[in-house]
């Protein structure tokens, strides 16, 4: 298995463990023997072009599909055998907007709380804190349809954290946002990881969202082409930036690092 983080210790399970995962649609292989781990309290990036298999991987990680072969563990809970425990530790931000536009921010949060078995009082208390933290306290009673794209994303991030998960998965969360909104969302998630000790797996095809100290998994044509800390991957491949690595490994279909 490709260890993304060297920081994982024996007594604390990785936030996410993916081992020998393969998945096909008929004869088309979408994922081929994918393995990597994400250590607790880290910001990891899953990098890949459109069609690399990111969406399929994301759907398996969130239990929308069951893996054909291989294993997914969230905080040590097997997604196939202990899906309830695994999903309870997972917060998700999908690429497409998943807020109900007919409801207010507050009502969307209450609905999400119910989906995780949280009572209204507990949900309201946590919602107030989280929505204030993403800078939208004034919009708590606004209809979602009245919010901008960046504001909706902020609400979705707050919602993903509502049940206090220890791992959040974000599928291209900056897609369709302007430059400022993109930077704000990225900074917000990085701050959550740094301050709260939450782990994040950030899926993207935009290399400028990656820092040297981030953990990176490069996926291309359903296979992991490189994994590790960004600066280690660049050093190992003798390239200057992760963009060069991405171009060489993914676009040219080069060997795994």
């Amino acid at each position: 298995m490709t260890a993304v983080s060297p920081a994982s210790s024996l007594d604390v399970p990785p936030a996410l463990e993916v081992a020998r995962l393969s998945h096909s649609y008929g004869s088309r292989k979408a994922l081929d023997d994918v393995s990597f781990t994400v250590a607790p309290a880290t910001f990891a990036v899953l990098l890949g072009l459109n069609g690399a298999g990111k969406s399929t991987l994301f759907a398996i990680l969130t239990h929308l599909y069951a893996a054909r072969t291989g294993m997914v563990r969230v905080l040590g809970h097997d997604m196939a055998r202990e899906s309830r425990l695994a999903l309870a530790e997972l917060g998700v931000v999908f690429q497409s907007r998943t807020l109900d536009p007919y409801l207010t921010v507050d009502e969307n949060m209450l609905y999400q709380g119910a989906l995780h078995g949280m009572g209204r009082r507990e949900t309201r208390r946590r919602s107030r804190d989280l929505i204030a933290r993403v800078g939208l306290a004034e919009q708590m009673r606004s209809r979602v349809s009245a919010l901008s794209g960046g504001q909706m994303r902020r609400v979705e991030i707050a919602r993903a954290l509502l049940h206090a998960p220890r791992l959040i998965l974000l599928d291209e969360p900056t897609a369709g946002l302007d430059v400022k909104a993109r930077a704000d969302i990225l900074a917000l998630v990085r701050e959550l990881v740094a301050r709260d000790g939450v782990s994040a797996l950030w899926t993207t095809h935009l290399v400028d969202e990656i820092r040297d100290v981030d953990q990176v998994v490069i996926l291309h044509e359903g296979r992991v082409r490189a994994a590790g800390l960004a600066h280690e991957v660049t050093a190992k491949t003798g390239t200057a930036t992760i963009a060069d690595v991405f171009a060489r490994l993914a676009l040219a279909g080069g060997p795994a690092a």
Partner: protein, 275 residues
Amino acid sequence: MTLEAGKRLGFGAYGTCLVGIVWREGLRFLHQRERFISALVRPLVWLFIFAAGFRQTLGVSIIPPYETYVLYDVYITPGLVAMIQLFNGMQSSLSMVYDREMGSMRMLLTSPFPRWWLLTSKLIAGVAVSILQAYAFLLIAWFWDIEPPSPWGYVTILPALAVSGLMLGALGMLLSSGIKQLENFAGVMNFVIFPMFFASSALYPLWRVQEGSPALATICALNPFTYAVELIRFAFWLQVDWLSLAVVSGCAAAFLAGAVIAYDPERGIFMRGGG
């Protein structure tokens, strides 16, 4: 797993989840007033125009549960109530396809509760909305002098509405799993809703259909919607039609089981996708 998360997956949390899903469906319904109005207009057009026109030309003989001759508009009222539930079930199905395309279905399915419970909760939420619509229709029909032999009919119809609503909602849910895109939904109107409604006892008693076409009468007798109509008709007249109750309950269980299988992560609708 954190202690908080562990507590939230206990028995009581199932109820919290159910209440939350029903509450959200109710809110959506209230926020979409046009949906409520169109749900009422459809059966009212049938009652005020179609039934009024046929009142003089179409006689209904004394058939159970009726003990006297009844006017045609009294006869078709249970069929129109069932029609409300049929359309509501298909509307829920449509909204599930929409939710799946828009992504909000994904949020529901990433809840830690078992998928059968999430789908059952969604089904119950749809049934609750359809019962509200049915009572609103019966209230208007009351002003049209259509009422049960005793006010208790409004109470005894409730369990019948619950069971028939479950069957029609579960059918809609099952159908939604087989529809890949919203554009394909028109086929449901043509191949499910209209045949189910017209090939049933909603508009005319089966003995009359038998006189006109024995083959059509057989189809009507095999149509589960016929039993939903009869269950509601008998319940409104303070009686129980046990055969209808058995058929409707059995079909509800079978359709729900089919929907749970179709939405199972191991084999269902999402497995046919790509990405």
